[in-house]
Amino acid sequence: MGPYATSYVLIGALMLFGAMVGVAPLVISAWLRPRKPSPLKNQTFECGLESKGDSWVQFKVQYYIYALVFVIFDLETIFLLPWAATFHQLGLFAFLEMIVFLVVLVGGLVWAWRKGVLEWK
């Protein structure tokens, strides 16, 4: 097994251990804790009143628009990272190439900005 694969096996092991850290306290406390549910205790918290209406509503779209814009620009970041890592070797051409890429994306940002997507209303 090469060092490359070894790293990922180790990460897998860490994931396993991490999951144990996350789950073990819940399991241990499930053995130890008392269990006395009552309808009053199990009510939804709404500042001492009974909850009115549904809380799973189709909420304001603004929150999700950010998510949409994010997906686009996060991809950009991913593309930028390998470029950044090999920047030294690539030289002027790659620089100009990336400038074009960035300009296109900045154009997108400006468009979104002008469109008012980034403005919280």
């Binding site: 709404e46 009115k52 809380s55 304001k60 779209v61």
Partner: protein
């Protein structure tokens, strides 16, 4: 025939009557079919300053409807007072605005003195002014701490504020035996005389308070986050403030020059040289600043009062029979400028030992009625600081 008042004012983008109940249309946010969320904030909420509820309808972060609901702390104060002797109601007034029992006492004593025509000795007047201004310091310092706490600063400014407040409460305790429920004023004076030690302690507090205020202001007033959070938020216009009979620092933050200490000159306030700070914008930041400026003015009054403090004299009018107190039949409305606004007591006497009618004009409650008009169109986080800037104490709102 009385002409109906038809003046209107624009609030939250719609024309509303300036006087009387306003009705707001709840507008759905947009045509994308997004739904509104109806939340009740309170009574069990970290920052409603007591058991107070706001039924809020949210469109995203924005408040499109808000209904204040109070009465959770109703204790039947007025009716109890009608079945208790005049003096027995004095301790009850402590529990109205439990942050400023001294001014509550004074307002009630003032009303009774007006009703029975009692004269207050000069020494007692000075003591009352000193205690009232100390109470104003207590209230405003704590309020600034609470307001910044509402802004999300986790307790640090609040604890700094409380540290200074404690010093004043220590004096109250030494005077009356209680830190907050002082029950100190009596009809025609105060309960016990100042000792020289008390005066020395008050002088010490007044001397070192400016340095605390300077530090506090340096930390808070110029803070970028506080400015961006408070400025232009929760604006209360002059017209609306007057039409809603808002009083106190809130009214003055909207730029209306109305301070009962200046208007009525009750007690001996005409002997002191002080100014009434006014705001320009009527936003939360102005209300915060007004509190700072008023504290400076209070310190000014305190310094003068301590300087002029008479050497001898009675601390209470000896002719007043507190035990079997029976004012002659009549009615009186006594009001003072409490730290929160106009605190008034309305009394009707039939000549007996019980008041026939006893009514409180609580500044907190009346200032609170304007809450919805200030909050509409603001963000949900702003609701909290607007409520904080109104400066309510639920004991007084619900009585």
């Amino acid at each position: 025939m009385i002409q109906p008042i038809t003046e209107t004012i624009e609030i939250g983008g719609s024309e509303q009557p300036l006087y009387g109940p306003r009705s707001y249309q709840v507008l759905s946010g947009n045509d994308l079919g997004s739904q509104l969320l109806e939340i009740s904030m309170g009574p069990h909420h970290p920052s409603t300053h007591g058991v107070f509820r706001m039924d809020v309808v949210l469109d995203g972060e924005e408040v499109v409807k808000l209904k204040p609901v109070f009465g959770y702390l109703h204790r039947n104060h007025e009716k109890i007072a009608e079945n208790a002797s005049y003096l027995a109601s004095m301790p009850y007034t402590d529990r109205l605005d439990y942050f400023c029992s001294m001014t509550n006492n004074w307002a009630y004593a003032h009303a009774v003195e007006k009703l029975a025509g009692i004269k207050v000795p000069e020494r007692a007047e000075y003591m009352r002014v000193i205690l009232a201004e100390l109470t104003r310091l207590v209230n405003h310092t704590a309020l600034v701490g609470f307001l910044v706490n509402d802004l999300g600063a986790l307790g640090t400014p609040l604890i700094y504020a409380f540290r200074e407040r404690e010093n004043i409460l220590d004096v109250f305790e030494a005077l009356s035996g209680a830190r907050m429920m002082c029950n100190y004023m009596r009809f025609g004076g105060v309960r016990v005389d100042f000792t020289p030690d008390i005066l020395k302690r008050i002088t010490h507090i007044v001397d070192r308070y400016p340095s605390f205020l300077a530090e506090f202001e340096k930390l808070l007033v110029g803070n970028d986050i506080i400015m961006s959070r408070c400025q232009g938020v929760g604006v209360l216009t002059k017209e609306l403030a007057i039409a809603s009979s808002v009083t106190g620092p809130m009214l003055r933050a909207s730029g209306v020059d109305y301070d009962i200490r200046k208007v009525d000159k009750y007690g001996i306030y005409d002997r002191f040289d002080f100014r009434v700070p006014l705001g320009d914008h009527g936003d939360v930041y102005d209300r915060l600043m007004i509190r700072f400026l008023e504290m400076h003015e209070s310190l000014k009054i305190l310094r003068q009062a301590l300087k002029q403090f008479p050497q001898g004299g009675e601390h209470i009018n000896p002719e007043v029979k507190l035990r079997n107190f029976r004012p002659k039949a009549g009615e009186a409305y006594g009001r003072i400028e409490s730290p929160k606004g106009e605190l008034g007591f309305y009394l009707i006497s039939t000549g007996g030992n019980l008041p026939y009618r006893y009514r409180v004009r609580p500044p907190s409650l009346i200032n609170l009625t304007i809450l919805e008009d200030m909050c509409l169109g603001e963000k949900v986080a702003d609701v909290i600081i607007i409520l904080g800037s109104v400066d309510i104490v639920l004991g007084e709102v619900d009585r």
